[in-house]
């Protein structure tokens, strides 16, 4: 498709600026102004509308396709949550208004929503307190790692490293490093869970803590989590829970009861706020009582008269991780979703996410070897048996595209060769799962009978496999018009 810049014709325009109501002109000196206008597109509104409507149709999305992208939890995003988030009483409020009149009198509804969301999340995770400030899951991890650093600084501890399983998401080590920690990889057993005996060898007085996802990235519950927590706590380390997979155990387990001290949750995964093509998300962080003093400011507090107010008086706070109160629009959707589902509904989410994943696993493990016979909310299969015939996990992924399915996550976790990580979610019907299973089985047959057909896939899309090496070499990161002769 042409770029919007390639559709530009001088003199055309979409939006008419409002009429000037004030006399006089702006008083800015010429030396402070730009030399020429920015070369933005000159297109009529209909062209803008067609351009973006047609661009949108080039995407696979949850609303159009089954999207079992493992680890990302691509479930249905309820429309009611979208609609309530657009209310003018939410989108129209300025984040500095709470400071214009004592105690946030201008934004009581918004503060109440934040306060109640914090209470609901705290109850679900078993934590004492939550902050909603972090702006994404990885941002939550960084906030959590900074809370761990603040705790140790306050205790006068000299800690150096954080332990992270080798199966972890890449954000875990990157976040720990950004909080000033060295990262030590904790090895997994052949079964794919943390090897506790080996782990003991890495735990010492310099251990600041350990970050874990449970169930882990292989979709397996870490059965020794309590023992691990005891070992870490014995050296005054803290346990961090990466909530990426919380949607497997909602309403059934509380991270605090597993021994975790800090956790982040992903509203765009567990609580069905949309992924937006890569954000915005949110990364609320929960803590146990002893970490409460270090939470970011401001805090939303409920006053004696039942109104809500912002409190900045936390001398041990790590400060501001975001300019305001988090991605408020995302949090409105989170709150709406929590209200819709309630206690039974949230538990049912996990029950059905796990049931659907195990169903897919049971129907595919005979042809694609699995890490384990059972899984939680997602299963990791391997395409390694096809490699000898010249077909890799990526070829299966591209073959799925031609059959109308978004591929699973491939080549992650790193510790499984030719990994295909499938997360069906609870919002898919049995018929959809059966159709996907059927497609996977057919692709395995094609891989053996006619590998070249898979190497050519996808053929149903507007572009085929793209040359990523050329992209990195050419570094064409912004459009430049060809000079007309």
């Amino acid at each position: 498709m042409k770029l919007i810049y390639e559709k530009s014709v001088a003199g055309r325009r979409a939006v008419r600026a409002p009429r000037r109501t004030v006399p006089g002109r702006e008083l800015i000196q010429k030396r402070l102004l730009r030399a020429r206008p920015a070369e933005l597109p000159e297109v009529p509104e209909i062209e803008v509308v067609r351009h973006f409507t047609n661009l949108s149709r080039l995407n696979f999305s949850v609303d159009t396709q089954f999207y079992p992208l493992g680890s990302c939890t691509m479930k249905y995003n309820p429309k009611a949550c979208e609609v309530v988030a657009q209310h003018p009483g939410f989108v129209g409020i300025h984040p500095l208004w709470p400071q214009l009149r004592g105690g946030g009198q201008l934004t009581q509804g918004a503060l109440r929503l934040l306060y109640e969301t914090e209470r609901l999340l705290a109850e679900l995770a078993g934590m004492a307190e939550f902050t909603l400030q972090p702006l994404a899951g990885a941002h939550g991890e960084l906030t959590g790692a900074m809370l761990i650093a603040a705790y140790h600084r306050d205790r006068g501890n000299t800690k150096k490293h954080i332990l992270i399983p080798d199966s972890a998401h890449g954000t875990n080590p990157a976040s720990a490093a950004l909080a000033g920690f060295q990262v030590v990889a904790a090895p997994s057993t052949a079964q794919g869970t943390v090897d506790v005996e080996k782990l003991k060898g890495f735990i010492n007085a310099e251990t600041a803590g350990m970050m874990m996802t449970n169930p882990n990235t292989l979709g397996l519950f870490e059965p020794d989590v309590r023992r691990i927590a005891d070992l870490i706590h014995a050296v005054d380390g803290l346990m961090y829970y990466d909530g990426a997979n919380f949607n497997a155990i909602m309403g059934r387990c509380k991270p605090a009861e597993m021994g975790f001290d800090v956790c982040h949750l992903n509203p765009h995964k567990s609580f069905a706020s949309p992924h937006g093509g890569g954000g915005p998300g949110a990364g609320p962080v929960g803590v146990v009582e002893r970490l409460r003093p270090f939470l970011p400011i401001s805090r939303v507090v409920k006053t004696r008269d039942g109104t809500f107010s912002l409190d900045y008086d936390y001398p041990k706070s790590i400060g501001y991780v975001a300019p305001f109160y988090g991605n408020f629009g995302v949090l409105v959707r989170t709150y709406a979703y929590l209200l819709l589902l309630g206690r039974e509904g949230l538990r049912a989410v996990s029950d059905h996410a796990v049931l659907n994943a195990n169903y897919v696993l049971s129907k595919l493990k005979d042809i694609f070897p699995a890490v384990s016979d059972h899984c939680m909310h997602e299963c990791v299969l391997s395409a390694k048996s096809l490699v000898a015939g010249g077909v890799r996990a990526m070829d299966i992924a591209k073959g799925l595209i031609d059959r109308g399915f978004h591929p699973p996550t491939v080549y992650f976790p790193l510790i499984v060769p030719e990994a295909m990580m499938i997360e069906p979610t609870e919002t898919e019907t049995r018929e959809t799962l059966d159709a996907f299973i059927q497609a996977m089985r057919e692709l395995a047959q094609t891989a053996r009978a006619n590998p070249a057909a898979l190497h050519a896939a996808p053929v149903t899309t507007t572009v085929g496999r793209l040359d990523e090496v050329a992209a990195a070499r050419n570094m064409d990161l912004a459009f430049k018009e060809k000079k007309s002769e």
Binding site: A80, H94, P173, V225, G345, T432, T462
Partner: protein, 453 residues
Amino acid sequence: MVATIMTQTQAFQANSPADDSAMLATLGLAGVDELFAAIPPDLQTDAFRLPAGLSEMEMTRRLAELADANARNLVNFCGGGFYDHFIPAAVDALAGRAEFYTAYTPYQPEVAQGTLQAIYEFQTAMTRLTEMEVANASLYDGGTALFEATMMAFRITRRRRVLIDEGVNPIYRTMLKCYSANLAFEFVEIPLRDGLTDRAAFQAQLTRDVAAVIVQNPNFFGCLDDLSDLIAAAHRSGALGIVSVYPLALGIVKTPGAMGADIVTGEGQSLGLPLSFGGAYLGFMTTRKLYAHKMPGRLVGATHDAQGRRGFVLTLQAREQHIRREKATSNICTAEALCALRALIYLSLMGKTGLVEVAELCAANASYGWQKLTAIPGVKPAFHSNFFNEFALSLPANAADVISTLIDKGIAAGFPAGRYYRGMESVLLVAFTEKRTKEEIDCLAAALEAALC
């Protein structure tokens, strides 16, 4: 251990209890709890003090009550880096397409060309707006973008000290301090001189260990400056120039690219995003091509398939956490793709002429406001520099008290600078967008005069 009996279909679960039973039978299981046999029983609980689920109608009513408990219809002159601009209807209509908002990070480019091409077009728009060479796909917000720029400067220069102007949004400076607490970096804050960057004070601190100078234009007080000389001075000592900008102002304001900036960041909220109580917003970053490999965040590049058809992919991924883990340029994974899409649609609708017109209108409204407000007895301009759409006034009273008084008249008169700057308790920061009318500005002037006498 708790027993779940699935007898009723819960919200958004797709299958019926009969489907559940059939699927469990396929697995050879008698009940759903057996699916969770891997979890030690003592880690399972049903002790959740959570409310029962609501119907959609009940939830909608509850949320509307909360939304209605916030102030509405205030005539807003409060800015502080976050502005009440008009958003054309097509922005919501197009960004509200579910093919965009229910997709995810484009790891499979063949089925994500919509998102990828839009990001490439966004990157292009930001390079043109700032007059820089490359842009990334977005960061969380203007503050985290400034932190990422600082980290990038450390990586490029291998130096550990930055000089930051006190005209940089105080919220962002607070964020930088928060993030640097565990990293061996030094931040030196340089006070303003009559509202502008103090060249001599910067020069005095500009030693060979400085990684970057960080400035903002227009600055927190709305003052405009040409920072070319400061950036040139930074370059002479081997430091980078980082400029935080207000992108809508760049419709008319001299660009950081023209000033010689090395890294440009900013808050993209003014480009078609609602105020929305602080988020979701849009951090962005542009830089020189030379530094693309040191950049954080996603980058989209143009390439082609085997048949020579143009397409777009995530590129230079070797910088990123999913490959480099603790050695990555940043921990960022997902950022704000949908917000970047909104900004791109906004800029496409405004176009080359429209953005200039809106920026001029903001500035014209502010100029008129300046004349009206500085004519009030006892009210003086706090500084004497040029401004874009926001300026600081020195009042003969406590600014926070005056603001509170004017709220009763339905006006959010501005922001009290004393909230962030010691000794500025009488300074009021007033912002004007294209949405403000002469009548509203006259009304503000009358109300302010009445409140002060």
